[in-house]
């Protein structure tokens, strides 16, 4: 058995926030996109960080009607929500607890944690055990598998010795190039072509982001240019897909981030190798298609993404 493919409702953001699709529409779409449902807590239900009884009823009724499976609840630790200071670990814990309870109430087996949860994970694990949840730190750029931060997260998981805590790799860390979408955003922010080209070159040369920022400032890049540069490094990582094998016992869910599909392929992310490794290591959980490109027909592009993955699965399970 290979892994299963579903969708995170984050993929439909452009239509959802412009009132084209309602939440119930998204549920119906998910039934044609693999049947696995991942939601982003503060985007998809009212009352965040709590889950109301009213939403529970709406959610479960639609799940049943469309034959869906809840896969992952996106929680937030939001350490910078106060203007003057960061949340203390106690405050972050208090903010996260209702999210875990809400996820369990809705029937989700997995909760995505931001890595900011590191100082409270020890306290969250017993709660996850009680609620029957598995928690996963999202490995989103710049958190590459090989990075010291991720190694620190893995050490913590080992020390806690609980299979309730794991990792959620985001496919954005397996990049080969910067997407056209990100370059277009840079242009829209008024960044000169010279700087765009230099950022692309520096990224390809695997320059550390601090050095890249120095270089951009030398070239006269303004604050917008620096922010955009950080966004590029915050979206595209250098992890080797084969490194998934090193963390195979920790993977509780996978985010199938993508920015475009061109001729049936994601040109900037190394999906073929990712799928091959997931099959090699016997990953049997869910992968959520997570579209984060420019506004488009998101249903259609998610469908194409899933078609690409299925073709790779067929290729490597022959």
């Amino acid at each position: 058995m290979t892994f299963r493919i579903g969708v995170t409702f984050h993929s439909f953001t452009a239509e959802y926030v412009s009132f084209v699709y309602s939440f119930e529409d998204l549920m119906e779409l998910a039934s044609c996109l693999g049947g696995g449902v991942e939601i982003v807590g503060p985007a998809h239900h009212r009352g965040f960080p709590e889950v109301t009884d009213e939403f529970e009823r709406v959610f479960k009724s639609a799940m049943e009607r469309y034959g869906l499976t809840p896969t992952c609840y996106g929680s937030y630790q939001d350490p910078f929500m106060l203007p003057e200071r960061d949340l203390t670990p106690d405050e972050m814990y208090e903010y996260t607890v209702p999210q875990l309870k809400g996820a369990a109430k809705l029937g989700f087996p997995v909760v995505r944690l931001q890595y900011y949860a590191y100082p409270i994970a020890e306290r969250l694990v017993p709660l996850a055990e009680k609620l029957g949840l598995r928690l996963g730190y999202e490995l989103h750029s710049p958190l590459m598998i090989e990075s010291p931060t991720v190694q620190k997260l893995i050490e913590q998981i080992d020390t806690l010795g609980s299979d309730r805590l794991g990792l959620i790799p985001d496919c954005g860390i397996f990049a080969r190039s910067v997407s056209d979408h990100h370059l277009a955003m840079g242009r829209q922010m008024g960044i000169p072509e010279l700087i765009l080209a230099e950022v692309e070159r520096l990224w390809k040369a695997k320059t550390p982001v601090e050095k890249a920022l120095e270089r951009i400032q030398e070239l006269g890049g303004n604050q917008a240019a620096c922010s955009w540069t950080e966004m590029v490094w915050g979206s595209f990582g250098y992890s080797e897909p084969s490194a998934l094998a090193d963390v195979k016992d920790y993977i509780v869910h996978v985010h199938g981030k993508f920015y475009s599909i061109v001729d049936g392929e994601e040109p900037d992310l190394r999906y073929e190798e990712v799928v091959k490794t997931l099959i090699d290591i016997g990953y049997a959980g869910w992968l959520s298609s997570e579209y984060e490109g420019p506004p488009t027909d998101s249903f259609e592009i998610v469908r194409q993404h899933q078609e690409m993955i299925r073709q790779y699965i067929a290729k490597f399970t022959r």
Binding site: S18, P42, F48, D78, L82, E84, R303
Partner: protein, 150 residues
């Protein structure tokens, strides 16, 4: 597989442009005993945020700046001064909910240009409290006098 929602609605389901100034008429209103107008706003993010993540809302009407102390943000029936937002970390603005922006001033019926900037922090970016600047501009209709209250 075909998009079932598209099939059912037989209409376009492409994303529409969203800006924080909503496409909704301006209405006359009374707020805290003062006469003024209401402009309908949306949160420019992909998710709900606590009001403490809103670092500023600056509006111009027909290119004329509105002073912040003449304004109120009305969300779910509660009225807030802009300088109170920083403390409101437990009041969430749901991503699909409209808020009303009260401006203490009069406005003639007819079309007006409402433009502005909203500064919003996504409270988890690795770079910290980096405010995203969202700009908006719309031509909105000021409704005929029809007293409502905020």
């Amino acid at each position: 597989m075909a998009n079932p929602v598209k099939k059912r609605r037989r209409e376009q389901v492409e994303p529409r442009a969203r800006q924080f100034v909503a496409d909704y008429p301006i209405r006359p209103a009374r707020c805290e005993g003062k006469e003024g107008i209401l402009i309908r706003l949306l949160l420019p993010s992909y998710r709900s945020l606590p009001l403490s993540c809103i670092y500023g809302i600056d509006i111009t009407i027909d290119r004329e700046a509105v002073e912040r102390n003449c304004t109120r943000l009305i969300l779910n029936g509660y009225t807030h001064r802009l300088d109170e937002l920083a403390a409101l970390s437990t009041v969430f603005w749901f991503i699909l909910d409209y808020a009303d922006f009260f401006v203490e001033r009069s406005l003639a019926p007819g079309l007006h240009t409402v433009a502005g900037r909203m500064l919003v922090v996504e409270p988890y970016m690795t770079v910290g409290r980096f405010p995203f600047i969202y700009e908006a501009e719309r031509t909105l209709l000021m409704e005929q006098e029809q007293r409502g209250s905020a």
